[in-house]
């Protein structure tokens, strides 16, 4: 019964979405106040209906209802409760439902927290969001219904893929989806602005916090996924340039460009068309990511579906969304106007350069991700693009961007002076250069690329500190420094926190790539192996029983300078219901380094108590990678909290008055 309620709720939600996606948009066009007024209650109704559906699916998982096909395929009666709940989005159908849940929640948030928006604008935004929701609901109902019954029911479920039985799975997909789906709000704002022809600074100010929020979630989602891959896959890597990772990285790059472009549009009224185009691109890439991951054209841990019908549907949806919004753009963009003019060297130009670099970077990822698919589709054979391609392209593209992070906050809008900037920043650059040149000596070996990257990271830190100090000094007006510092807007600190996050991230990546050490060795009981100044002593393995798996647990002493620091217990698990083996690495996390041990295989399969193949890593600064991402996200949060986004626009009243007259 409960699954049928969920199914029914989805069907009703589709009806509501179709109403919300048509009447308010038409109403905004023809100025029908009653049609416009439908948008908000419809958004609330949709949120309720989709939540009901989601709760129904979760109930089926909690109660082990194996007469539901999706539950039978992704759960098991032995599976612990938190993972049964996470398994709701552990497969294709459920993860799409999660997509829609996120979408209606964003829509609800727009409906509830945008009181300062003119009513027409809000109706349009909600209408566009509902059209996207309708597309996804249709997709679920036609091709991927999670409530489909399995009659007679299975005795027990097939179990969740052991790789996904991890706290990482509970948080990674919702975060990532919040980000992906969040760009739909930026997209809806852009399309509404095109529809109304009102592309102005106010539009940019409304759009900015929503875009930043989506970007924060996407940043955290990608970081969580990377961290999960690092400790769960047992290979010690944090980024593989896997097509699925790329699919989430491309919207991030464009989203980052969009944030900066929106800043220009808000402050100076320039870049309007460009900003709109980026908003459309960010959401289109989110959809493309969904297509790549969900259509089965890629095979990886994320690819659940191999039903070609689904691929065709998403592709058609993608083409519709991108095609219609680009057509709208082509039709409306010429009327938008150019906005504030600026000279060849100004903060605008620097931000434009940042945008170009990020977009080109995204283009290179797109090329490397889609080319193999294209060649395969055209019958050109199977091929893949190796990670060295991305590595060698990314470093030269992003290094100038890193340099600009230090410069741009000092540059004036409209017209900046090279000489003045050089005078302001020369000591900062000298300090960064000394740090970059000297620091690699302390890490063991001097490498030119490491020196350059550390120089750039230090440059960001020093320039940021200098910028904060100068800004506070210049606005003191007789107050103490601390008092003046507290008076700076949160958005200002948000920007700098995010930039510092980039610096921290760069340090992490540089140090790991430059100095990590790895060894695969055969270890008899009592054997030791040393890597990166640490010694590991293998004391054998013991058998243990988990809730739904059997494990062989390694007993390894981590030794430094002759002293045992701690025991490390990497595991080799065998899951009962799926008979899948899983490696659980043991990681000792530190501020400046991780040491990482994972069990390979017993040398002699018949004698698992004897010698093992063991992999050990020393990874300097690896946690800075995710720390940097968290700092970037924190910067985004600070920026959203800025007071000026909560100031009510005075324009609301006049537009509302016009509406009443017309009605």
């Amino acid at each position: 019964m409960i699954p049928e309620i969920g199914h029914f709720a989805l069907i009703v939600a589709l009806g509501v979405a179709l109403v919300q996606g048509t009447l308010p948009l038409l109403g905004a066009h023809w100025r029908r106040a009653r049609w416009i007024a439908l948008a908000q209650p419809a958004a609330i109704a949709q949120a309720v209906l989709v939540s009901v559906a989601f709760a129904c699916l979760a109930t089926a998982f909690v109660e082990n209802d194996f007469t539901v096909l999706y539950v039978a395929e992704h759960s098991n009666s032995l599976l612990p409760l938190p993972y049964r709940l996470a398994a709701v989005w552990g497969g294709h159908e459920g993860s799409l439902l999660l997509w829609v849940v996120m979408l209606v929640m964003w829509t609800l948030a727009v409906a509830l927290f945008s009181k300062q928006l003119p009513e027409l604008m809000r109706a349009r935004v909600l209408g566009v969001l509902a059209l996207v929701t309708a597309g996804f609901l249709l997709f679920i109902l036609l091709t991927s219904n999670p409530f489909e019954r399995l009659l007679p029911g299975a005795a027990d479920g097939r179990d969740l893929n052991p790789l996904l039985q991890d706290p990482g799975l509970i948080f990674h997909p919702p975060m990532l989806y919040m980000g992906y789906v969040g760009f739909s709000v930026a997209y809806a704002f852009a399309v509404s602005a095109l529809l109304s022809g009102q592309l102005d600074a106010a539009w940019a100010r409304w759009s900015r916090p929503w875009t930043t929020a989506a970007w924060v979630f996407l940043t955290l989602g990608i970081a969580l996924g990377s961290w999960w891959a690092y400790y769960e896959l047992g290979w010690g890597g944090w980024w593989f340039w896997d097509p699925v990772e790329n699919a989430s990285f491309m919207p991030w790059l464009i989203g980052t460009a969009l944030l900066h472009s929106l800043a220009v549009t808000e402050k100076r009224g320039s870049f309007k068309n460009w900003t709109v185009l980026l908003a459309i691109a960010a959401f289109s890439l989110s959809l493309l990511g969904t297509f790549l991951v969900r259509s089965g054209v890629l095979t990886s841990v994320h690819a659940f579906a191999t039903d070609p019908k689904r691929g065709v549907f998403i592709l058609a949806f993608l083409v519709t969304v991108i095609g219609s919004s680009l057509a709208l753009f082509a039709w409306r963009a010429p009327k938008v106007g150019l906005g504030g003019r600026f000279s060849l060297f100004s903060r605008e130009t620097l931000l434009l350069t940042n945008n170009v670099l990020l977009v080109v970077a995204c283009g290179t990822v797109l090329l490397g991700t889609l080319y193999p698919l294209l060649v395969d589709a055209l019958g050109g054979g199977k091929l893949s693009v190796g990670p060295p391609y991305f590595d060698s392209v990314f470093a030269p593209l992003l290094m100038p961007a890193l340099f600009l992070i230090g410069v741009a906050p000092f540059a004036r809008w409209k017209e900046a002076s090279v000489g003045e900037l050089a005078r302001t920043l020369r000591w900062a650059f000298a300090a960064a250069a000394i740090f970059g040149l000297v620091a690699p000596f302390f890490s063991g070996q001097w490498k030119p690329l490491v020196a350059l990257s550390l120089l750039l990271a230090a440059w960001i830190v020093v320039a940021t500190a200098l910028n904060i100090v100068r800004r506070v000094q210049s606005t003191r007006a007789g107050r103490s420094f601390a008092a003046a510092a507290r008076r700076q807007p949160l958005g200002f600190y948000g920007m700098h926190a995010a930039h510092l996050g980039v610096a921290v991230f760069v340090v992490g990546v540089t140090m790991v790539n430059g100095y990590q050490a790895e060894k695969d060795v055969r270890m008899e009981i009592g054997d030791t192996v040393s890597v990166g100044g640490y010694t590991f002593r293998f004391n054998g393995v013991r058998a243990e029983q988990g809730p739904n798996y059997r494990a062989l647990v390694g007993d390894i002493d981590l030794i430094k300078d002759g002293r045992v620091l701690r025991k490390m217990n990497p595991e080799k698990r065998n899951y009962v219901s799926s008979a899948m083996p899983m490696t659980e690495a043991a990681i000792d996390t530190g501020f400046l380094r991780d040491v990482y041990v994972s069990l390979g295989e017993p040398i002699d399969k018949a004698r698992p108590q004897g010698a093992w193949a063991v992999r050990v890593y020393h990874k300097p600064f690896v946690d800075w990678i995710w720390g940097g991402c968290v700092l970037m996200a924190l910067g985004g949060l600070l920026a959203i909290s800025d007071r000026r986004y909560r100031a009510r626009a005075r324009a609301t009243a006049s537009v509302g008055a016009g509406l009443v007259q017309k009605a």
């Binding site: 091929l383 893949s384 392209v393 030269p396 083996p581």
Partner: protein, 159 residues
């Protein structure tokens, strides 16, 4: 500078940078394309020498052998038609098993042994790497075609 000069400078600079970037990207792209070959194609000498490529197929039953150092493994990959020996130093992915599909990336040694730098993991018990599936499928199709051809020849002879 006059506005016109400014614009020209901006456009020229932009184009120069863009050209440089495109050259850089395409160069890196070209040198990092990794092609896939089935054991049959490798046996026919289609695979490049001295350049990395990927092979795939089924891991033949009973062929995984561990060398004395304890971390180098040898196994045979087959597309049911031709076989090739693969050597890999390191720890294999969890789901690497005899009788299952696998894809390896590496170079072909002079002794005809494929030295893998990476063995690709599959993520699910039922998942077969698409390249491996295709290699086996192609070989299977060729075998069927050969059988059909033989049958028709036999028929002709009888007539």
């Amino acid at each position: 500078m006059k506005p016109r000069h400014k614009r020209i400078a901006l456009i020229t600079g932009g184009l120069a940078v863009l050209g440089l970037v495109v050259a850089l990207v395409l160069n890196a792209f070209q040198s990092n394309l990794v092609f896939f070959f089935s054991p049959t194609q490798v046996a026919a000498g289609e695979a490049p020498r001295g350049k990395p490529f990927r092979i795939g197929g089924m891991v033949k039953d009973g062929t995984i052998k561990r060398e004395p150092d304890g971390v180098t493994l040898r196994f045979v990959v087959t597309d049911t038609e031709k076989e090739m020996t693969v050597a890999y130093k390191g720890i294999l992915p969890d789901l690497f098993k005899e009788g299952k599909g696998a894809v390896a990336q590496g170079r072909l040694g002079d002794d005809g042994v494929f030295v893998a730098s990476e063995v690709l993991a599959k993520h699910d018990e039922n998942y077969m790497p698409p390249e491996a599936a295709q290699a086996v499928g192609d070989a299977h199709a060729r075998a069927l075609a050969a059988k059909a051809a033989a049958a028709s020849t036999a028929k002709t002879v009888q007539q």
